[in-house]
Symmetry: C2
Subunit: 306 residues, 2 copies
């Protein structure tokens, strides 16, 4: 069978063949490195750190679920705390996906913009978009990987997340699938009720301007494959284009939520994976790139085997 | 009306207000810079440099058209020549979109892998993925913009296209919407019959490994919003999931093709636009990034006013 392009399947088959001489050495693909990572290199994600969003079934009646992992401390915790309160209040139930802009974002929340918010939400300000370095233990010693970044002095991975670094501290970055907090013009106007996820090339100009509060770890295709909105900024123009949100719950309060785990970004396997993403030497590739954009090294996440 | 997040519409409204003092100066958004570019800063794209692909109508009977601009000389011309021959032979008529992999590519061609190719297609080799610098006049003097690039020693824009540069020469880069040539393991196996476009974060590890032959300039949403394939690498598993291609023709041979134009990448307006993409100072933004990924500076393309 002949299959074309990004042929990791063929690469995997080739890499499985024994090789006799150094010249003929085959290198594993990133996915193969991840596949053989040791069990103790994976970190379980607490169900209470998930936001599980069930959309109305699709036109064929298939269920649609999106699972989001919330950003861990010390990053964006004011907004994450609000999201926990909004989920506990079942605030998103009956709201909808209202905006799908190609190569940019899918956004959801209250289309009427009139739904009352629960009491006690925190107000976050302009300084909350960046976290002081000293709050992220071990970052300085272990994280910056030395690859150039057009958007920051340095970047790297820390407790399972991609981060950027500048003089003022550390911040989470807008990669594909990251979830952020919609806001109005003033930086203190985002509560966490209006959320979006990235479905295109990383819009990193949003870093430090909008809070990143999580990432979609399963079901991104339920959002990225939605019809694009035809209004300004990709908003749906008709009410019946919106996709209803049936419920959004923390993972420990939702039904039938599997346990997820991410590859430790401190592990030897992650280091080898990141290197392989930057220097593809598996058989399909003729020229290793010699580097990788941080958003092109997605942290491996999977369902934990039962 | 309150609207959230990437609020370029509000930014545009604010920027339109007159300002009295330097302190209160508002800066235009990138889209506003493009909107006021002079007519002579736009470059008409020849219809014969377009590949117009008509898909079967969607489930509601709406037509689906994708317009691709082919890569100009001196880049990838062997494959582009093959694509012209394939279009002239109506080779894609009756083929289909067979693969949709989230955050990666949409791929089309002959799913049976048995359809005979027209006579006289060129065979391109490993050295054809990079173009010697001296073939691209003016590049060296004007193009590299000094921003760091994880994938290349330098990059910039040339005759309307993003390019990267290394010791061996210049090459087009895999940004969102770019069209490339599927191939098998050997670098000389891609003819141009099997094509894909990028629908996610720029997979620049493919640069120099796969030929970039064009970019989608209209209708990308007809591809990026398709259901993701559930087979390995996002291939559709069932024949009825494939999206039929009714026809693919060069722009001068297709019906009802508008004229397109791109903003000259040599123009003052493009320089201002690129700077604004790297340093957003319009009212929504609190912190300008100080740089931009080359794939986050898409070359402005529009239908030419009649």
């Amino acid at each position: 069978m002949k299959r074309y392009l990004p042929l990791f399947a063929i690469a995997a088959i080739c890499a499985a063949f024994p090789v006799a001489a150094q010249e003929a050495k085959t290198y594993p693909a990133p996915s193969e490195i991840v596949a053989v990572a040791r069990a103790d290199e994976w970190v379980t994600i607490a169900p209470s750190d998930l936001l599980v969003m069930d959309l109305a079934p699709d036109s064929k009646g298939n269920p649609r679920r999106v699972v989001i992992q919330l950003m861990p401390a010390p990053f964006s915790q004011g907004w994450v705390g609000n999201i926990r309160k909004l989920a506990a209040a079942h605030w998103w139930d009956g709201t909808s996906i209202n905006r799908v802009q190609d190569n940019y974002v899918v956004q959801w929340g209250d289309a009427t913009e009139k739904k009352a918010l629960p009491q006690g939400l925190a107000t976050m300000g302009a300084t909350d978009y960046v976290t002081p370095d000293w709050l992220a233990k071990d970052w300085i010693f272990a994280r910056a990987d030395g690859r150039p970044d057009a958007y920051a002095a340095a970047h790297g991975f820390y407790i399972g997340w991609p981060l950027a670094q500048g003089r003022e501290g550390l911040w989470p970055v807008h990669c594909y699938g990251m979830v952020g907090v919609g806001r109005n013009l003033s930086p203190d106007t985002g509560t966490g009720a209006e959320l979006y996820t990235v479905i295109g090339h990383a819009p990193r100009h949003l870093d430090r301007n909008i809070a990143v509060v999580g990432r979609v770890i399963e079901g991104i295709e339920q959002l990225s494959s939605l019809p694009r909105g035809t209004g300004a900024l990709g908003f749906y123009e008709k009410e019946n284009e919106r996709v209803p949100i049936l419920s959004a719950r923390l993972g420990n309060e939702a039904k039938d939520v599997p346990v997820f785990e991410h590859l430790s970004t401190d592990s030897a396997s992650f280091a080898a994976y990141a290197d392989a993403r930057a220097n593809r030497r598996d058989p399909f590739f003729n020229v290793p790139a010699g580097g990788a954009d941080i958003c092109n090294i997605p942290v491996p996440i999977r369902r934990k085997a039962k």
